[in-house]
Every structure is written in C-alpha cells, then in structure tokens.
Symmetry: C2
C-alpha cells in the first residue's frame, strides 16, 4: 500500500474505532445501570473490540460504498462499524468451539472468564462459568451489532437494503461455521469441501457481503446496483478465497509474534484447511503416514512442528497454494478495473486486495 | 381458561406454527442448496420449533396488539412468530451452558448432535462436536428470528417501532442470562438478586417486551402508545415474576411427565431461584445444613429429592411463594382492567395470566 492509501485505510480504521468507542460507552452506562455485576462483561467486550483487529469488514464495506461513487459519512461509518461486533461474536464463539486458549496474544474470552471465576473464588466450576460467559458475550455482541446498525441513522431505504444483505451474510456465516465444524468430523480431507468452506467463511462473509453492504447503502435501489454487486462479487469472492488460503499458510508457517496464535496452531488442531487437503493429496509413503499420524495432536513439540512444516513444503503444496493465491489475486484485480467500479475506488480496492493477500497476520 | 378463549389461544398457536412451518421450509431449501451437510441442522431446528413449546411470547405479543384495539393480520402474526426463533436460541444456549441433557423430554440440541457424531462414526470428539453444533444452531436461530421479523411484511413505521423494542428485549435477555449464570457462582443465595434475575429473564423478556412489541406494531407512533405501554408493563412485570416463581416451584415439585425435565432438576443443579433463596433464609439448624450440603449434587437419589422437598415445604417457603404469586397475580389483573386497555383484550389478558400462573409445565 502506498503512503496516501495507507493513511486512508488508517483513517477509516480510526473512524470505525471512534464509533465503536462511543457505542460501547453508551452500552456500558445502560448495562451497569441494570446491575454492577455486568461490569466485567463491558470491560471484556471493550477490550476485545478496541484493542485490536484488522477492521477488514468495515474496510470492505467502505470500499463498496466508494465503488458506488460516494464517500461515506459518519452515519454510514457507524453502520459499517457494526460489522466488528458481528465479527466479535464469530471469534468469541469460534475460540470456544475450538477450545483455543488465546486470541491476539491474550486469553480467549472463555479463558478470561474462567480466570475471573478463579480469582474471585466463586462457587462452582470455573471452566463451566468461562464457557457460559463466552456463549453469552458472543450472543450479546451479535445483538449489539444489529442494534448498532439499526440505530446508525441510515435512511429508511438504505437501512432496508442493508438489512437484506446483512441477514443473508449472517445466515451464510453460520452455515459456513457449521460446515467448518462438521468438516473436522470427516475421516478424509477434501480440497473441494475445504474450498467451499473458504468461500462461505471468507469469500462471502469477510469480503463479498461487506462490499455489497457498502454498495447498497450508497445506492439502495435494486435497479441501480445490480451490475455493481456482480462486479464486486467478481472482485470479492476470489479475493476471499485467497485471503483464506493465506490464513491457511499463516496457521502453519506464521510467526506467533505477528499472528498472536501459537506456532503451528492449525497442525495441533488438525484443522481441515485447503492447504492440508492439498498436502495430503500430494504426500505419499512415509511422509503421508507421518503427517496423518501427527495432525490434530495437541501436544506436538516445536521440533515436530518444524519437521512437519518441512514435509508439507516438500510435497509442493505450499508452492501450489501460493500459485493459487496469485491466480485468484489476478482475477480479483481484473474485476477491480471494471468500468462498473467508480475510478476513485480502484486504488483503494487494489490496495485492500494486496493487504488481504500479502499480510503476515 | 374458558372454552372460547382457549380456542382463541389455540388458534393463535396454530397460526404461529403455520408461519414457522413456512419460514423453516424456505430456509431448508436455501441451506440445503449450499450443502446437503446442512440437512441435520434444518431437521433439528424444525423438530425443535414445530414439535412443542407454549408459544408464550407470540401469545403475549398478540395480547399487546389486541390491547391497542386491533386484531393482528397474518403479517403481524408472522412478525410475532419470530419470537419463537429467539426463544429457541435462548433455550439451546441455556441447555448447553447448564449441561442439561433433555428438553421437552427429548435430548437437548448438544446431546442430539453428540449422538449424530457417534452414530456417524465421525472423527474427533463427539462431545465437542455436540457443543459446537449447539453454539451455532443457537446463533442461527437468533439470526433467523431477526430475518423473519425483517421480512414479515410489516410497514416501515411498524417495523421501526418493533425493532426498537426487539433490540432492547434481546439486550435485556442476554444481561439477565449473564446475571443468572453469574449467580450460580455466588457463595450465598439472595432473594433480592434472584428477584432481579426473574425480572429480566421472565418479567421483561417473556412478558413485558412481547406485549410492547405487539402494542407498537398496532400503534407505531410514540405519542399514541406511551400510556398503553406503561399499563402493559404494570400488567406484565408482576405476571412475569409470578411466572418465574411458578417455574421455581415446578423445578423442584413438578411432575417430569408434564415438565419434560427430570424430577427435582433444580435441586440437582443447585439453581439459585427465589424459592431456594427464601427457603435458605427460613431454614435453620439441621434442616439448613442438610439443604446446603445437598443442593447442586448432580447424583441426588429420588429418595433424597423427596426428603429435600419435605424440608423445603416445612420451612414455609412454598406457602410464601404461593402467596407472593397470588399477590403478583392480583396486581397484574388490576392493570388488565385499566381503561387504557381495549375492552376486547381484557378477557384474553386475564386468561393468559391465569395460564402463566397456574400451569403445570
């Protein structure tokens, strides 16, 4: 990203954070007026939402709005910022389901509340309390995302158009999450099924739908936006898949310092990624046996992780995934240059694509 | 309930079921077009939503609409039926958090998916799969409730007014649920705190807010409905507390045949109910020690449950709770007779109050 665009993405992130800060302060006032016991809920969600995150979904919504030829106002940025609350729900519930201990280098929400239970010498089981809190904080974040969107100040037409996309997006997200959880129960890896999950969890939820959401806020009338939405899909879906493939690589080869997750986390978890499915399609003999034997063992040593990484790279799957990312990036860039996209939005879309594909966390 | 009113409540329940049946069939078509692996998700939610439930929240929304002097159309019943999906989310997540094995005499959702995992000889841990599925099915039901409400066909004004109440209701629900979970971690029972939880979980979520939701659908303008909402609160909040107190009694003394929950379930779970807090305030000496020692022991025998029931009754707490229910019922009935309530709605409100307070399940 060049300097000017970088500062523009940074400016969007800052504006999103400002809206979230305001919203969360209002909700804190309200919840603590019900009961002071709700303070840890507010603290935890504030910390989660204000202390980090790439703000990808609001950024893509912003890009979708620009693609329609307009610049979002504070009202629209508020509506886009609500996507961060939806994403908080997805991550809190994801970490709970996976039993992940950390998120962005800090304890996951269920672990955080488990710790609060122990520190407060509360009655009952700390682990059960942590899990229940994570269920409810995720639910609350989901409800808040909706509430923030409803109260963003969008015009009736823009809100109606936005809600239609927003509902589809959330149904697709839950469907993708279920397929992902279910995939872990399959005896065999499958490139095809893993690509479909990537399409729903990342292609649609992270990129295509946020773009659409922004676009329909700018042009609520269906007759005006249909071609634009198609082009945004042509830009967003391959980019989303590329984004997920980069995630697959980071889940195995990423630096814990930048990812905030333990090294080789996906190996310990035995995650059914496209990268692993491609690896197992290619691996043979002793290498294949060694991989199958060790994937999903939560106690893998760092030496073992290093040797599994080498095996994976030697199959050629890493190079293939990098090639696939390049091809998908190419497709995505071609769509960004379509005439249906307002020229002012192009540099922003191209820069976002670059960030999504080349990132280190 | 007299015969005519009973048939009217039954007619509302039937209409609600019809709308849910249509909605779920549409969503099944959509989800299974994404992937056939989503079929068990559709099956489980259909079974959950169509095979039982008292439809209390749609019934109170219906009553709120009638209180404003109108009769709901199919469109409005569709909007009210969406509350059943929200309630499905609450119950699925509740059973998961409590580790309850059954709901309405059938396996709870997390147990059902745990069973599917075992029957399908899937890879990984059956219990973890069951829990993850329950998190996601609850999330999906929450998103669907919203989607069904948004697409019910309400006018812009009615929808805007409904969403405002609906958002508040869901935030109150999550706050009440958190306080309930947190209460289990307190070392001492408290009548005051348990009453506050009853107010948020039942008074507001089950009764007051559904009434308001119905009323504002009929009269979207704030200037027209403010007195009506106050009177509905005066009817709904005491009724909600009485409803929860009846639940407390059923949780300890209820017949498993009608409740669909194991006998004395709240004793085994050590649930922090108003009834138990009042019992422990009154119990002394050996009886108190015996209660404190046994509450929350999941392995209580049926003989032990019988003897604990006797101890609880002997403190006088059961009689006190019955008296409190009567007093709250009185308050509620007085409000139902207020002139702000349309006369046609009164018999329905009075009959609903009777059902909520005198029920056996």
């Amino acid at each position: 990203m060049d300097k000017e665009l970088l500062s523009s993405a940074t400016a969007v992130r800052d504006a999103v954070k400002e809206e979230l800060t305001l919203y969360l302060a209002q909700q804190r006032d309200y919840l603590t007026s019900i009961a002071s016991e709700l303070t840890p809920v507010c603290d935890a969600l504030e910390d989660y939402l204000l202390e980090g995150g790439k703000r990808l979904r609001p950024l893509f919504a912003y890009a979708g709005f620009m693609a329609a030829g307009s610049v979002p106002s504070k009202t629209e940025i508020r509506a886009m910022a609500s996507l961060e609350l939806l994403q908080a729900c997805a991550l809190i519930h994801d970490d709970l389901m996976d039993g992940s201990d950390t998120r962005r280098g800090k304890p996951a929400i269920h672990r955080h509340f488990e710790n609060l239970h122990r520190q407060g010498s509360m009655a009952g089981l700390a682990e059960q309390f942590g899990e229940a809190a994570a269920v409810l904080l995720g639910d609350l974040a989901l409800v808040w995302s909706d509430h923030m969107l409803h109260n963003s100040g969008l015009s009736h037409d823009a809100l109606t158009a936005a809600l239609r996309i927003h509902d589809e997006m959330r149904i697709e997200l839950m469907a993708g999450q279920y397929l992902d959880v279910r995939e872990a129960g399959e005896r065999e890896h499958s490139v095809e099924r893993s690509l479909r999950i990537a399409r729903y969890k990342s292609g649609k939820y992270t990129i295509e739908r946020p773009l659409h959401l922004g676009a329909v806020m700018a042009r609520p009338s269906a007759s005006e936006h249909s071609e634009l939405l198609n082009v945004l899909s042509a830009y967003g879906l391959p980019l989303g898949e590329a984004f997920q493939l980069r995630d697959d690589l980071l889940g195995i080869f990423g630096d814990p310092q930048t990812t905030g997750k333990p090294a080789g986390d996906d190996l310990r978890e035995g995650k059914r990624t496209v990268l692993m499915a491609m690896t197992l399609e290619k691996a043979q003999g002793a290498a294949r046996e060694e991989l199958v034997k060790n994937l999903g063992n939560p106690a893998l040593s760092s030496e073992k992780i290093e040797s599994l990484r080498t095996l994976i790279t030697e199959t050629g799957a890493v190079a293939d995934v990098e090639k696939l990312i390049d091809r998908l990036g190419e497709e995505s860039r071609a769509a960004a240059n379509s005439s249906a996209i307002h020229p002012d939005a192009r540099p922003f879309l191209l820069a976002l694509a670059e960030t999504a594909i080349r990132r280190s966390h």
